[in-house]
């Protein structure tokens, strides 16, 4: 793998993908879950999660920089042998399978609950996974370019919601600040941390494809800060406009805010336009999950040609997504109770193990560098 010519993407493209993979779920579904747990402190929780992401992203860049031509799965092969690679890859696949459930919850409930209540769930899953598969077939370079469009859409979306919400913004909704203790707030970060985990593990896989390794750290940190800033605007507006109590009442809290947004007397009910912009970012999430899951599957089965794994991977992820999304209660239990624990265990477990073993067996890594 390492001797093959890899597709190369720029640091800016990686930045765009990172922001897109986090954004769609983080602004609505995640904020609703956080609001239910910590109320008005949801914006503080979001900031704490951004700090967690900065730290983890830094750790991942350190790990990959030790063998810049190898992704974390290939590095794990050097450190733990072929079976170690397979186990790590299986965990990665499991992670992106689980993440896909969250992504599907985000997309399907946005569209189904607010726009198309009569359309069967399977149609949503087939349509979005089909588009993701098409993007996947075009490769990471095209997904990256599409993510640039997604970044543009996110900016427009943020501007639209900002203008549409400021009239009803009330500062008193924020008080008392830190109504929960720091430990409760830290516990609540697991919801948003699981969003950032998607971006961090994706970076751990894609980073060797990124040009100019001396800029990796700068751009990954930048991506967390910009992405975090774009996301942070939402809990601030949700607390200030909807109030944390109302935010917590909805699965898709951002959609409720979009529905109440209006600009002046004539421009109201423009959530349809916002959802079109949102869908671009959400579909980048779908494509990113599919590509990372496919790469993980390739390492699990030891396949030479990744293209053959695209359809089986999409079927597995789509099937799981359907099973999760088909039942609202199941979806909510999964998202709030199981997924944060699973995702945190995988991301912290894997990165800490690879970091520690990489430090202990540094000589082994240096010897195998470039091989």
């Amino acid at each position: 793998m390492s001797t093959q010519i890899r597709t190369q993407i720029s640091n800016s493209i990686l930045l765009a993908i990172v922001i897109n993979i986090v954004y769609a779920k983080a602004i609505g579904v995640t904020q609703g879950a956080i609001a239910r747990q910590v109320g008005a402190d949801m914006w503080i929780v979001t900031i704490l999660s951004i700090l967690f992401a900065l730290l983890m992203m830094w750790v991942v860049v350190i790990i990959i920089k030790r063998t810049p031509e190898k992704n974390i799965l290939e590095q794990s092969k050097v450190l733990f042998g072929a079976w170690g690679e397979k186990i790590f890859s299986a965990l990665f696949f499991l992670f992106f399978l689980g993440a896909y459930g969250g992504v599907m919850i985000t997309i399907v409930y946005h569209l189904m609950d607010y726009f198309l209540p009569d359309v069967p769930t399977a149609i949503f899953i087939i349509a979005t996974t089909g588009v993701g598969l098409y993007g996947l077939s075009k490769g990471i370079e095209v997904i990256g370019r599409f993510a640039v469009l997604g970044l543009f859409s996110i900016s427009i979306l943020n501007i639209l919601i900002l203008f549409g919400s400021l009239d009803n913004f009330h500062v008193h909704h924020f008080f008392p600040v830190m109504q929960n203790n720091l430990w409760s707030n830290l516990q609540a970060t697991s919801h948003h941390n699981s969003d950032w985990a998607m971006a961090i593990l994706m970076v751990a896989i894609l980073l060797p494809m990124v040009k100019q390794k001396e800029k990796w750290n700068k751009y990954t940190q930048k991506s967390v800060l910009i992405g975090g800033g774009l996301i942070l605007m939402w809990p601030l507006l949700q607390v200030g406009t909807l109030s944390p109590e109302v935010t917590g009442q909805y699965i898709i809290s951002c959609m409720q805010m979009a529905r109440s947004a209006e600009i002046g007397l004539f421009v109201h009910r423009y959530e349809l336009i916002m959802i079109v912009f949102f869908s671009i970012s959400a579909l980048v999430q779908v494509m990113s999950c599919l590509i990372c899951a496919s790469i993980s599957a390739k390492h699990v089965v030891g396949a030479k040609n990744i293209n053959k794994l695209y359809i089986p991977t999409a079927l597995l992820l789509g099937g799981f997504g359907y099973w999760i999304v088909d039942d609202h209660m199941r979806a909510m239990h999964y998202l709030e109770d199981y997924w944060p624990i699973l995702s945190m265990s995988i991301i912290i477990g894997i990165t800490v193990l690879v970091l520690l073993f990489g430090t202990i067996f540094k000589r082994k890594l240096v010897q195998r560098k470039g091989k």
Binding site: F115, L116, A127, V131, R269, I275, V276
Partner: protein, 515 residues
């Protein structure tokens, strides 16, 4: 003997045998002219001149070939000369044709005759002389039909490749202007030329163009679209990745930006590669009017593009699935208009779109005065009658008409047609699945467009991938004094203009008027 075998033969030393064989190969056509004469009286050396009437200029043949040969005496020692030496004698004896070349076999001889040259056979010589006397009726240079401008040059390409290359050369007096010619088409043997400016063009781009052209195997090339379809990066895509134009100024401008032009004989449409998506929204007079005006016009064209692509789909999606998104008063107006319409809104839209396409096609194909009448009758009478009959709603007529007008605002006709084509899948998906259908088909389309390349360059550049420097002449046109560099893909990234070109009044000069 098969025709191929006859063509592979070398000429015979017997004049009559050569002439008979040529007539046999060509099937003794009525337009093949044969002039027999004697060129050295002392030995009565027979000669014969063959050419195709209509392809060769008979006046030129008379004045520059026959008259000098028949009036200037030649020494009988000519019979002892070689073909090359005879060629020099013929030149000295006053043949005033632009070029004489020696051909040795029937294949080359036939090619020369069919290309409009005259073939001179001299008895006892196993070689013939191809004399350049091409001359056929051509259309004069006129204003292009498809790329019209309000301000700017009015000359357009014609059907002659040589005239076309000359029209571009007039605009590029650079010694690094390069032209490479070839013939494509086993039977048509169409002349093709590629032109570029050395030092600006990427060498690998020229190699790529030449390689793709050389790989073409086809019997005939009648128009540049034959070449376009055979060198396209994505032949199955509805998007055009090669641009064709009738305007020499557009080709010259492209060459100054490091592009390669492909000229095809017998067509006024010249191709330019690589092509980016945004170039289809640019016109020549964007550069001949003030930059603010040009940028405004471009903005209007992009609006037209969005309307043309999405308006009917958006309308169908809103009316069929998301009525709550329409402002109440407008929703009531639409509902009142649709009250007596028996068809679902998707069928209504498809019906109107089909009717519009019929009128457009009929208007183009019919003679101009009748075509205009069809358009007017179609749009006014049939539209009004359809509304009165309750088949379609008035607002649907407005939507389809606005979409149609918007598509005509896209300067490149073929690009506008491709946009009209791709809006149908979006329309149908929106009609069946509402927002989900609209979003998924739109995203599929965007991913497809982003994945395209034109001769190695991303089709959607400089936005996807993003290149801030090249944006100076895409969505908007910056003033010439602000565009100092050529596009990033130009070899060497040479400066296009000097620094600090922004004009300003000379502050040092004293004014005549005192305050």
């Amino acid at each position: 003997m098969q025709l191929e075998e006859k063509l592979e033969q070398d000429f015979f030393s017997c004049l009559q045998q050569n002439v008979t064989e040529i007539e046999s190969i060509l099937g003794s056509p009525s337009d093949l002219v044969k002039r027999d004469f004697t060129i050295v009286e002392q030995v009565n050396l027979d000669a014969s001149l063959l050419y195709i009437d209509g392809l060769a200029d008979s006046d030129v043949i008379e004045n520059t070939i026959l008259r000098p040969l028949l009036t200037n005496e030649m020494n009988e020692s000519i019979t002892a000369l070689s073909s090359e030496q005879i060629k020099q004698v013929l030149t000295k004896k006053g043949l005033q044709v632009p070029s004489i070349s020696i051909v040795a076999n029937f294949n080359d001889g036939i090619d020369a005759i069919l290309a409009g040259n005259a073939l001179l056979f001299v008895d006892q010589y196993k070689q013939a002389f191809s004399l350049s006397v091409q001359g056929w009726e051509t259309r004069g240079i006129e204003e292009p039909q498809s790329d019209t401008v309000l301000r700017g040059p009015r000359d357009g390409f014609v059907e002659s490749i040589r005239t076309n290359t000359a029209l571009v050369r007039r605009r590029i007096r650079d010694p690094r202007f390069r032209i490479q010619s070839m013939q494509i088409g086993k039977r048509s043997k169409t002349d093709i030329a590629i032109t570029y400016i050395e030092g600006l063009v990427r060498e690998d781009l020229v190699d790529e163009v030449l390689q793709r052209l050389n790989n073409i195997e086809i019997d005939a090339v009648l128009e540049s679209n034959y070449i376009e379809e055979l060198i396209d990066d994505s032949p199955t895509s509805p998007f055009l990745t090669v641009q064709g134009t009738e305007r020499p100024d557009k080709i010259a401008a492209g060459m100054y930006e490091g592009k390669v032009a492909i000229f095809v004989d017998n067509t006024p449409f010249v191709l330019i590669v690589p092509t980016h998506f945004w170039t289809f929204f640019q016109t020549s007079d964007d550069y001949y009017t003030h930059y603010t005006t040009a940028s405004y016009f471009r903005f209007i064209r992009y609006i037209a593009f969005i309307i043309s692509l999405t308006l009917p789909s958006f309308f169908v999606m809103l009316v069929s699935f998301h009525q709550e998104m329409i402002p109440t008063q407008l929703a009531l107006t639409i509902a009142a208009g649709r009250e007596i319409v028996p068809l679902p809104v998707l069928i209504e839209a498809l019906l109107m779109e089909t009717a519009f396409e019929l009128m457009r096609e009929a208007g183009i194909r019919m003679p101009k005065p009748i075509g205009q009448a069809v358009s007017i009758v179609g749009s006014l009478v049939v539209g009004q009658a359809a509304v009165d009959a309750g088949i379609v709603s008035p607002i649907m007529v407005i939507v389809v008409a606005t979409t149609g007008i918007a598509s005509f605002a896209i300067p490149d006709y073929l690009a506008s047609v491709s946009i009209r084509l791709i809006r149908f899948p979006i329309l149908i998906a929106s009609g069946f699945l509402g927002l989900l259908g609209f979003a998924t088909t739109f995203v599929l389309l965007v991913i497809h467009a982003i994945s395209l390349r034109s001769f190695g360059e991303p089709y959607m550049a400089p936005y996807f991938p993003f290149n801030s420097r090249d944006r100076q002449d895409t969505m908007i046109r910056k003033p010439f004094w602000a565009i100092e560099t050529r596009p990033a893909d130009v070899k060497g990234n040479e400066q296009r203009a000097g620094k600090n070109q922004k004009p300003s009044p000379n502050k040092r000069r004293k004014t005549r008027y005192k305050r």
